[in-house]
Structure formats: C-alpha cells, structure tokens
Symmetry: C2
Subunit: 232 residues, 2 copies
DNA sequence: TTGAAACTGGATAGGGCAATCCGATTGGTA
DNA sequence: TACCAATCGGATTGCCCTATCCAGTTTCAA
C-alpha cells in the first residue's frame, strides 16, 4: 500500500526500537531451536516461552506463524542453495552429486522443522520460493553433469530429488531421535539405485506440476504433537 | 473385571442389541472410508457424520479413538499378514519378496490411514500387534530365502522393511492424490538397490529396539488436516 | 401388551491452538 | 528531565478437537 522504496531486499524502512530488535532476535533464536526440536507443529506459545517474551510480542513482530517460519528458515534455505553450488564446484560430477544428496538429507535430519519446510512448501514466502527454485535449476545442471559422466542412470529425473526428500522426511519424522542415523542407510540405498548402469526400468516420474501441487496441498500445521504425555 | 470366558478371540460376551450392532457396522464402514481418505487425523465427529450417527453413539461403542482405529484396521492388518504368506508360497523367492514389497506399499498408498498405522504403531491393540509380529517373522523367512537364492543383498536387514514403510509413508503423505503413483517409482528404486550383488557397503542398520521405540514415540493424532479451505 | 434395560444423539465439558485486546511499561527524543 | 509514542505481556477470543452427560427413544423378553 505504501508506495515508494520498494527495494526487494529493503528490510527495515523503520529501524525498530532497540528493545524490539533485541526481542526479535530472541524470538528467532528461540523459534530456530524449538522448530528444530519439535518440527513445525510446535506452538507459537512454546516459542514465546522459550524466547522469554509475551505471546503478543511475537505476533506483533510476526503477524502469522508462516512469517515466523519464513524468517527462521531463510538462512537455512540459503545453506540449502549453497550446497548445490558446492556440489557444482566438485570436479567429480558423481561425487558432487552424492555429496549434495547426503548434505541435503542431513539438513532435513538435523532440523525437523526444515524437513517439514522442504516437503510442504506451503506459501511460506517469496524469498524462500526463489531460493528453492534457484537450487532447483542448479540441481538440474548437477544431474546433467553426472549423467554426462556416465555415473548417473539416464532415466533419473530431477523430480526424483523431491521424492527422496519426501521419503527422507518420512524416515526422519518417524524415527526421530530414537534412531537418529536411520536416514543415512536409506539415502545410501537410494544412491546405489541411482548409480549407472540402471538395473532395470522404472515406473514413470510423476508429472512436474503434480509434485508441486502436492507440496502446496499439504497443510502447514500439525505434525508431531510435542508430547502426548502418556504416563499410563 | 468380569471373570471367566477369556477366549483370546471371543468378540461378543454380550451379543449387542440389533440396532446397536447395525450402528456399529455403519460406524466402522464410515471410519474405513474417512480414515482412508483423510488419514488418522480425521476427527471423530466427521466419522460420526459420515456414519449418520450421533457422536455419543460412536464413543459408547469405541470409548477411544484408538479402539476405533484398531477395529477399522484389523482386517487390513490381516491382509497385510496374508501378503507375507502369499509371498512365501511363491516358488521364486526373489519374485515373492518384491511382490510382497510392492503389495505392502500399495496398501499404504491405497489407504492413508493404514499408512499412518503401519509407521506409528502407537498402542493400537493387542490383536494388531500380534498380526504385525506374525507378519514380521514371516518376513524374516522371506528375506532369508531371497538371500539364500542369491538375489537379495547379504547385508539386507529386516529393519530395512520398516524403513521402507516409513519412507513410503512420507511419499504417500506428501504426494497425496496429486501424484498417486509416485510411490511406485520410489519402491522400484529401493528394490533395485536391494538386488544382489550389493553395489557397495551401507551404513549400519538402526538398533532393533530403536525403531520400535521410534514407532511408539510418534503421536497418534494430527496429520493432514482435511482441508485448509484456501478459497483465496 | 407392557415395562425396564439398553441404546440414541444433541448439548456440553475441558484442553490446545493461532491470533487479538488493552492497561502497564519502557525507549528515545525535545 | 519530561513527555509521548512505541512496545510489552497477560488475559482473552474463537475455533476445533476428544470425550462425557443426560433426557428422550427403541428393542426385546415376559
């Protein structure tokens, strides 16, 4: 509504009072911690408690939960995109490819919230969507390189990366901290099935749009209620 | 409390009045439908509405949601256990093995509720636990046969089947009906990575107990809120 | 036919959630 | 120093969930 000064990266038209800025930092730090531990299902109240601020303070700074999520995972999304760049710098295309795959899945495992973010993709924020798309184009080049080197099966499709993230999210969410390394085995299995030559044909990939719609479809909210507290 | 007649499979010590029995059937049928469509996150109220009975009627027959879930998925669990038996009857151990794998994952894909049930394993019910364990021992034999035939990699562990179910649940939950066949590709990839000879070593399997604890840990409740109703 | 136990379902309790309101407090400037 | 607006946080709203209560209804045996 307010015209003028529409810098795409202009963060602070109003330089926030000092205490407000301090609380903002606290809230983000707390949210980072809580979302990583409990997933996106964590309640706003628990974040406020962890941050030591009132609930209203949080909602004034982040009018909706989605905005908080976007703020918290912005830099993690950067790291995600960076991982692609690192992989593209690897002189060995295959090594770069599997390195990226392991790194990306490790991020999912290290942060339950991020695992949710990667697979749900609800209208989080423009910036994150951009990052995701940026990463995606990089991944396509990564894949092409690995195929050209003859190490990646020819029928590998970029959408397979999305599928892996979904599968990995399932493993990570289900195992939790009871078996924190289970995902490594699953990813290793995937990688071996990707290696050329293919051992056989595969069912067709889902349509490109279909996966995107699927990610939009899934609800942002409830996953992994913190503690049912079944003391029985 | 009431002593005597503790038949393990004695379902009806009190032969339920006719209308009550009729409503019981209706409720189970409705729950089957609703859970399959919306996952275990579906509310009891929605089941009651679908069944055309009052909420209280449902809670009298099934005092807790877990009991309803157990009643609904009892026969599906039978089918799951039967699939193992079918696979064991296959003269070709490898063919039987992959056939079972596909069948089991297909069940997950066909019924969101069942997908939840397979991976959460919250204290659903004794009968289902038995079925699950029964299936498990069968699967171990299936695995041993396939290994003995030289078609399944030697380092395959029974717990890998659990991991696959978790991964598949992730795919099925994330894709939903937007890409209803995406899981097939994932499962095919898994199968190719299982085939002997192994293409390389794998990270160790999680401890046996760890997975079980992981399954107990995950909360029964909220998954996939039916419709965010984003009319925007 | 009749009566009581079993059954029915709407209204309601009780808890968790995201999000809002308002009186008290604090920051920064004149 | 003194003031006002920005900020603070506890109480509150509104919604959805599982689960319970209770007055009216139905089944079934005598």
């Amino acid at each position: 509504m307010t015209p003028g000064s529409q810098h795409p990266d202009g963060p602070a038209p109003q330089p926030l009072r000092s205490d407000a800025e301090r609380n903002r930092e606290r809230i983000i730090a707390a949210a980072r911690k809580v979302f990583a531990r409990d997933g996106l299902g964590a309640s706003m109240a628990s974040v406020a408690r962890e941050a030591g601020v009132g609930i209203a303070t949080m909602f004034r700074r982040f009018p909706t939960k989605e905005e908080l999520v976007a703020a918290v995972f912005a830099d993690r999304m950067d790291a995600y995109a960076d991982a692609v760049a690192v992989a593209l710098d690897d002189p060995d295309p295959w090594h770069g490819f599997i390195g990226y795959l392991e790194a990306a899945c490790a991020m999912q495992a290290a942060d339950y919230g991020f695992a949710d973010v990667l697979t749900t993709s609800f209208p989080t924020a423009k910036a994150m969507e951009e990052r995701r798309n940026e990463a995606y184009t990089g991944m396509v080049r990564l894949i092409d390189r690995a195929k050209a080197a003859g190490r990646l099966r020819e029928d590998f499709d970029p959408s397979d990366l999305v599928l892996i993230h979904m599968a990995n999210a399932g493993v990570v969410n289900a195992t939790g901290d009871a078996a924190p390394d289970a995902w490594r085995r699953v990813v290793a299995l995937f990688i071996q099935s990707f290696e050329a030559p293919a051992r056989g044909p595969l069912p067709a990939s889902p349509e490109h749009d279909a996966l995107h719609r699927a990610m939009l479809r899934t609800s942002p909210a409830s996953l992994t209620t913190p503690e049912p507290d079944t003391t029985s």
